[in-house]
Symmetry: C2
Subunit: 406 residues, 2 copies
Amino acid sequence: MNSDRRQFLKRAALAGVALEGARSASAQTAGDTPDLTWGANPNPFWGAASEHIGGTVERSTPLADIYGIITPSELHFSINHENLTPNINAHKHRLLIHGMVDRPLIFTMEELKRLPSVSRVHYIACGGNSYLGLDSRKNPPKTVLESHGKTSCSEWTGVTLSTLLNAVGVQKGGNWLIAESADVKRHAMSIPLAKAMDDALLVYGQNGGPIRPEQGYPLRLLLPGWEGIRNVKWLRRLQVVDQPYFSRYEVGTYTNVMPDGVRLFLFDAAPGSVITYPSGQHHLPGPGLYNITGLAWSGGGAVHKVEISVDSGRTWKNAQLQEPIFRKAHTRFQMAWKWNGQETVIQSRCTDEKGDIQPTVAELTKIWNVTPDYWQTTTNNIHDFNAVQPWRVDREGNIHNAMFQA
Amino acid sequence: MNSDRRQFLKRAALAGVALEGARSASAQTAGDTPDLTWGANPNPFWGAASEHIGGTVERSTPLADIYGIITPSELHFSINHENLTPNINAHKHRLLIHGMVDRPLIFTMEELKRLPSVSRVHYIACGGNSYLGLDSRKNPPKTVLESHGKTSCSEWTGVTLSTLLNAVGVQKGGNWLIAESADVKRHAMSIPLAKAMDDALLVYGQNGGPIRPEQGYPLRLLLPGWEGIRNVKWLRRLQVVDQPYFSRYEVGTYTNVMPDGVRLFLFDAAPGSVITYPSGQHHLPGPGLYNITGLAWSGGGAVHKVEISVDSGRTWKNAQLQEPIFRKAHTRFQMAWKWNGQETVIQSRCTDEKGDIQPTVAELTKIWNVTPDYWQTTTNNIHDFNAVQPWRVDREGNIHNAMFQA
């Protein structure tokens, strides 16, 4: 390892990056920082939403109650699959990059932080977000937190993975990376080299602060626009290999069983959007003007257009998009709406920069070549379900989830 | 008031905004929210920085320890002038807009939140930031937190003030606004109508969450690029008047006493910047490559260029600016630097989109037409002091504040 370390420092110097002595330089400020512990620490602002804060397993973002495009770090969704958030001492944490490389290297967090940094606004969404899964069929999602709360957006800061891969020198035939977590399960995912060299980041900062423990402190692999499970938290190892490893969550859970076979490796997430106001369990007290707002996103790049229908899907109008629009990030949309007091369905659909259009559930049924009752009867895994979310407004002004009742 | 309220709803409808029944619609979600209380609630992440969290009076941002351009909300600087943060029930809070207007109006927070929203990234800095003031002369700032920690940057969400002023109808001769706080001091500031109609916002959201209590919950006047004291917190009243009111803090404290007279009403803040790594009390363990990074800003608009000198001011090179660059916002810069182990001074200077250049302290001395010892001997107030911050690197690699020792 000492040899690796010397190699690393030498290479870093050649690469024009700033590493010598970075560890002790950083220790000057970081040395006072106690080892981190993290417990229930709800922000008193969040009121009813705080019930979703502080757990170790699952958390959803209250999309109807946040502003702009940044999700407060403490409200970023979290799914741990019964995994516990590890209590990692960042000063002892190491990242190993090895396998089919010329120069395997070990990085301390201090070394990573002394490299040129990049900050980018990106969303992360669970592959299962917005799917009316087995559990939720018995108890269909009532609010937008329940239906779509597994997507969140942050300003992430870290280093580009390509910088590090260039430093270690990927060998011919090294086409995949295995990204491994320091959690007790050693959660691992297979990442194509092309994605790693494109826009992948290793991030240590979230919204100006250190990445939250439940989000992967001290280091997370960020794969913009790819489902959450691939954005490996508590990253400790990257192994360059020739083939994917078909790890537990890439064959067992996060796959789509289709009529024509199993789809593995769901990468760029499809375009999605949801109206967050008014949404499930909101109440409109009477006819009049309302400001419809919501969030859109796409793993395919920037949101190009969001259309809103307020007449049960008969007509659609372009919503106003809040600028700047970041690629693979939440994009806020708004539109004024005059409600006449009659029952109707309101919904939004996203078109991304590639021209991909978010389908209605009826359209998705055709695309997947399944029967209309498939979504509610299958025992297969369903991921990347991105159907338009219809909200039904009744005559009393109450808002209901109409995904399967429209 | 009922008449005003009816007028407001009528006008809002005419203006195409979404107000009818907004209060009860919002209460559906907001009703569960308890009245807010705020105490010491440090984020366990912040370690040594947490000593600056939780007080009611003063707080600085640890600029050397934050990432990207967003300042975590709980680390936003705060100066209250012995004022206590009021404990405001947002559901009872009201904003009154009156004076020289056609239709005085009262807004609830729910009504404001139902208007079309805008989110913008802006910095706020204290007019006294980076000035070696009376207190700090005895104990000169050692770290960048102490020297420049009174600037912070957030994604703010709210409504444009121009929208509301158009709704009330400003009468001829109404050239100023008096913005009044709900704090016990009734802190008030005079704002030219032109600024109010330009880019002023009334904000209720900060980095995706509700604005923090010490930052003005539930409503703050945001005047991008203007010194902090004018960004009135806990905003409860806007009165359109014909002349400025010369309130306590615009005549008594936040003024510059110059050789040729007193300068009142310091508006667009001058361009500024500071190297945050390496900065005061950091330690470089040996010669080699380092990644210099820091933050720049200007009340005049976007940061156009940041230059770095690593040879005591003899030569300057352009730093890399992190994109996107927002107007009147922190802008992160970086540059690789090979330290040869010799004593030197490193420093940064900002040029904004108007071409205004951050001066060295020697240049500022000439601009202000004062003697070199003025900065350390005057008992006058000094604001908008934006001199280049020199950091001296000694042969042992220790970094020192060289503002007045260079």
